[in-house]
């Protein structure tokens, strides 16, 4: 679990906010692609604890959507419901309606395995399997039944090239994936996810343990692959959100002092430029200007 961080009182005073440095090339209004996810009035529980309340948002095709917000606001929880990873947590429960390309994601006939083959995930901490680099990438295709060596070779090369790792590892594909540096290991995990050619890639703070150079590489890579994939990224780094994302969702924590419970809420969702330059909600404004969280 993410550690719950004390949330300072949000100041309501309206002062002139400094504009963030967002390149002029960023489009003002993004044309709306097809909605990949349609999340409606969704609440997520762990046992009796309500982690996230009443989230509604659409995630659009071939865009990068960023989830930002203070620790404990439920952004990772929402991310993990999108490919049913929360099913693995005993007691986790989803209420509400989540549609993925028109299909109800939590319908009883839906197989989580089939969902995860289309919706891949990259984790906060790189988790290469204790296998060779080659076998790490070939893992996904193999569980999908691809046995042909030539076909696997192709997939491994393509995936590693997409993840900008090919040149660094092409001479040691048979060496252990555990021997890679932090940034390389994370790119290996991205390549592993891309190897099954998913429709959506979910990223849970993929750069939080990486230095700026490795982070830059992964951000470039995200921008490069977004024409073929839909990406949702959770990040604590607001600069990262402004650099890579098309849309940003800001989550915050609602505290109920009476029962001493906290629950995550979606405060504001819009184009990244709007969220950072012209936030409508005072809490968003306080957060993106660094006065809160």
């Amino acid at each position: 679990m993410e550690e719950q961080q004390d949330q300072r009182n949000v100041r309501q005073d309206q002062e002139v906010l400094p504009k963030l440095d967002i390149p002029d090339t960023a489009p003002r209004e993004i044309p709306t692609g097809a909605a990949v996810f349609d999340v409606k009035n969704t609440s997520i529980y762990y046992g009796s604890f309500r982690a996230v309340t009443d989230v509604s948002l659409n995630i659009h095709e071939n865009e990068i959507t960023a989830f930002i917000g203070p620790s404990g606001c439920g952004k990772t929880t929402v991310l993990r419901t999108l490919n049913r990873m929360n099913d693995l947590i005993v007691g986790a429960r989803v209420e509400g309606d989540i549609h993925y390309r028109g299909a109800s994601l939590y319908h009883k006939d839906v197989s989580p395995t089939a969902v995860r083959r289309r919706i891949g995930m990259v984790f906060q901490k790189a988790n290469p399997f204790p296998k060779s680099i080659y076998d790490n990438i070939a893992y996904g295709p193999r569980i999908n039944g691809i046995r042909n060596r030539g076909r696997l070779d192709e997939i491994v090369e393509r995936s590693l090239k997409q993840a900008a790792l090919w040149d660094e590892v092409k001479d040691r594909l048979n060496k252990s994936g555990l021997g890679l540096s932090g940034g390389q290991a994370q790119r290996l995990c991205i390549a592993r996810t891309l190897a099954v050619e998913p429709d959506v890639v979910l990223m849970d703070e993929p750069c939080s343990a990486l230095d700026p150079i490795a982070t830059g590489k992964i951000e470039d890579l995200m921008k490069e692959i977004k024409s073929r994939y839909t990406i949702v990224i959770v990040t604590h780094n607001m600069q990262q959100a402004t650099r890579v994302s098309d849309r940003t969702a800001f989550y915050s924590v609602l505290r109920d002092d009476k029962s001493d419970t906290r629950t995550g809420v979606l405060v504001e969702y819009g184009s990244t430029q709007q969220i950072f330059e012209d936030p409508h909600d005072s809490r968003t404004q306080a957060y993106v200007t660094g006065r809160m969280g």
Binding site: N83, R116, F123, N144
Partner: protein
């Protein structure tokens, strides 16, 4: 000298300050070395004694001749071949029964059972089984098997497997618990089913630890005499049929020869003991090499 100079030119002492902390460190270091020596003394003693007393008996004939001579016969006639074959067969079959079952049990406990009643019951029962004296296992098999189907090497295997099972379950379970959850999640996120995750990520990651635990169980079983007393009886000729007729094994021969006062029997007991240790040792090395080949990318 561990003395540096700071910017003002004053020397800084970077050594561990003297006092209780330093003394504690030294005391603990000495205690640790002492513990190591205390462990090594009996181990070295046993090995040296075994080799010095047993090496004289070892010969190709001793290892392969299939007739175990009566106690009165001096060394040089007959050999322990029957017992070597018996030990290999009985322990091997016991391992074949206990290791797959034990590993599967551990997989159930750690991956599938969760906190359910059945998982807790199995876990508890296997802990209890660890404490059952080996002779009781022998008697148990005697009552439920030998009384109905007669003595056989297989009955001995059953008894040894009962003994090995809890060790294999316990050690495999501990190894599976060490597999980081992030690896399981990584596999799930690629659309793997639970069985896939277990077979292709969890078990390979834990393999070397599971093999260590299994070897420990095999070594323990190979040296057991008591469970064999009531299950294989004993013979003086090689019984290559594991499934019927009385059999014999090295621990049994050590036991019966060491009880005897004849010098020939005594020498045979030492020789058999050294043979048993050597077999276990070779088995360990072979298993280690095989595991290393299988897991060369896991670290």
């Amino acid at each position: 000298m561990a003395v540096a100079t700071n910017s003002a030119g004053h020397p800084i002492d970077l050594r561990e300050p003297s006092g209780w902390r330093r003394s504690k460190n030294q005391i603990m270091t000495i205690l640790m070395w002492l513990a190591l020596v205390i462990i090594l003394i009996p181990l070295g003693f046993v090995l040296v004694t075994l080799i010095s007393k047993g090496a004289g008996a070892i010969s190709w004939q001793f290892l392969t001749n299939s007739t175990i001579p009566p106690n009165v016969v001096p060394l040089g006639t007959g050999g322990m071949g029957a017992a070597v074959v018996g030990t290999l067969e009985i322990t091997g079959f016991a391992a074949l029964l206990a290791i797959p079952l034990g590993v599967l049990g551990a997989v159930y406990l750690n991956e599938y059972g969760g906190n359910g009643i059945l998982a807790r019951l199995i876990s508890f029962m296997s802990s209890v089984m660890t404490g059952v004296p080996s002779i009781v296992m022998g008697l148990f098999i005697y009552i439920i098997w030998v009384l109905h189907f007669g003595y056989s090497g297989m009955a001995g295997s059953f008894a040894l497997a009962c003994l090995m099972l809890p060790i294999v379950i316990r050690s495999s379970y501990e190894m599976l618990r060490l597999v980081p959850d992030s690896l399981r999640q990584g596999s799930y996120a690629l659309g793997a089913t639970k069985a896939r995750v277990t077979l292709t990520v969890v078990l390979p990651t834990a393999l070397s630890g599971i093999v260590s635990g299994a070897l420990l169980a095999v070594a323990r079983a190979a040296g057991e005499t008591a469970p064999l007393l009531f299950t294989i009886l004993t013979v003086e000729q090689t019984n290559s049929n594991l499934f019927s007729g009385p059999d014999t094994a090295l621990p049994f021969q050590i036991f019966s020869n060491a009880q005897s006062a004849y010098t020939g029997a005594e020498a045979r007991a030492w020789g058999a003991a050294l043979t048993l240790v050597a077999i276990t040792f070779i088995l360990m090395i072979v298993a280690r090499i095989i595991t290393a080949l299988f897991t060369r990318n896991t670290r």
